[in-house]
């Protein structure tokens, strides 16, 4: 016993090191199963509110007020547009979806699994699996909600796949980020028979309960076809610049509970 205690005292620094290493590694592992984790360390209110404060240092006071006024006006216009086009073919925002505005308080593009934090939580009726969009594209999906803040998986995350289609020919595929460049994403599973060209627009596919159809995403930059394969691999350039995102729209499907009851959730969003 005495030997054991002596050993413990001698090696205390290595033991502390190991314990700390295990804690930090468990944090890293938690990140990979973030969707299921109950451990809510990084999205808690204190840290989010501090980073909210630091974010505000960057914004000039007047500019911010001006900006939010403009966004509110924009939102009103979009709701009006929605009611005008409700019955016509151009269903940019169908009646099933509700729109809210939110500010991004923390965002990253340098990792291969990126997340972002916004300043609306379940007090503002944000729910799990709501979508984040801007006028120029899809941004991400909410995966954790606290009273005032929520975190979202960015589409610049190699774990996530988005259903997308080519606007001109209506061919479907799935969109994924390779991890190289924050302006480039890759579209898989477009068949060889599709007549696609460079600079075609890619929009969201609509085979999803999170994003509705025809939200613009990007334009085709490069088309590759492997010899043994029947499917194109397409690089597309995003319209949205993720390095300068400030504010987003949250869209939530008002029929989500009903769809969840059907239990046909799959991994392509």
């Amino acid at each position: 016993m005495r030997n054991f205690i002596n050993f413990f005292i001698e090696k205390i620094d290595k033991i502390v090191f190991l314990i700390l290493l295990i804690i930090s590694f468990s944090l890293v592992l938690n990140r990979n199963f973030f969707q299921n984790s109950k451990f809510n360390f990084f999205s808690n209110n204190i840290i989010s509110s501090i980073s909210n404060q630091t974010k505000q240092i960057n914004n000039y006071l007047n500019l911010k007020n001006e900006n939010s006024k403009l966004r509110r006006e924009n939102l009103d216009l979009k709701i009006k547009l929605n009611s005008i086009f409700k019955d016509s073919k151009i269903n940019y925002y169908t009646g099933d979806y509700k729109i809210k505005i939110a500010d991004i308080i923390s965002n990253s593009i340098k990792y291969s699994k990126n997340y972002l934090i916004i300043n609306k939580g379940y007090n503002d009726s944000v729910k799990l699996d709501d979508g984040l969009i801007t006028k120029q594209g899809i941004i991400g999906i909410i995966n954790q909600v606290s009273p005032k803040y929520s975190t979202a998986i960015s589409i610049l995350n190699s774990d996530i796949k988005i259903n997308a289609k080519i606007k001109r020919t209506n061919h479907f595929g799935s969109l994924q980020w390779g991890g190289n460049d924050h302006k480039i994403m890759t579209l898989y599973d477009i068949p060889k028979s599709a007549n696609i060209k460079i600079n075609d627009t890619v929009v969201s596919g609509g085979m999803s309960f999170i994003f509705q159809e025809n939200i613009p995403i990007g334009k085709i930059k490069n088309i590759k076809l492997r010899e043994e394969s029947n499917y194109y691999i397409i690089d597309l350039e995003l319209f949205e610049d993720f390095s300068s995102l400030r504010s987003v729209y949250i869209i939530s499907n008002s029929n989500k509970d009903e769809i969840d009851g059907l239990n046909i959730y799959n991994e392509i969003y």
Binding site: L21, I50, S112, S243
Partner: protein, 172 residues
């Protein structure tokens, strides 16, 4: 003369704040400049080892929670802080580590090549561990190496500039 704990405390706060507010927002080729490694590079030698690990752990946790990285920085900082004595020994080999004690003496009284070796070894190993844990796939080794190289080059340049502003005495 300032005590060693207040010195560590001030560095902790200043480096943390400047990384979070300024350098996390500077992105070059998709990777931001990691100047927080300065905290590890100039950390005092003659301090209790378990305290040393614990302070570095705390520093990493703060950084992680403000830069959306969920424990990656903590993990890799801990490993490079374990490696640091060996890297110090390797790059400043002709110094007696036990006698000198202060990292400041290493950085003042040695040649630029030794400093560069030390800084680049620590930064490169740190970034390599960070990106391998972050991407966590052997098939993407190319991406890991590319990210590591770009981010290390940017960080090393910035760290050299910053440390020459605050640390080195006149070498004229």
């Amino acid at each position: 003369m300032r005590s060693i704990s207040s010195l560590i405390f001030f560095r902790f706060i200043i480096i943390l704040i400047s990384q979070i507010i300024v350098f996390n927002n500077v992105t070059i080729y998709g990777s931001s400049a990691d100047i927080y490694i300065i905290f590890l590079l100039v950390f005092p030698q003659n301090i209790n080892k378990s305290l040393y690990y614990f302070i570095i752990f705390l520093f990493g946790i703060f950084l992680d929670s403000f830069s959306n990285s969920f424990g990656i920085i903590t993990f890799s900082l801990l490993i490079s802080c374990y490696l640091r004595p060996y890297l110090l020994d390797f790059s400043f080999g002709n110094f007696d580590m036990r006698k000198v004690g202060k990292v400041r003496d290493y950085l003042n009284n040695t040649t630029i090549y030794q400093k560069l070796t030390y800084i680049s070894l620590v930064v490169f190993s740190h970034n390599f561990i960070m990106y391998s844990v972050e991407i966590f796939s052997i098939y993407k080794i190319q991406l890991i190496l590319r990210n590591t190289t770009i981010s290390s080059l940017i960080s090393i340049t910035l760290i050299l500039i910053l440390m020459s502003l605050f640390y080195y005495k006149n070498e004229r």
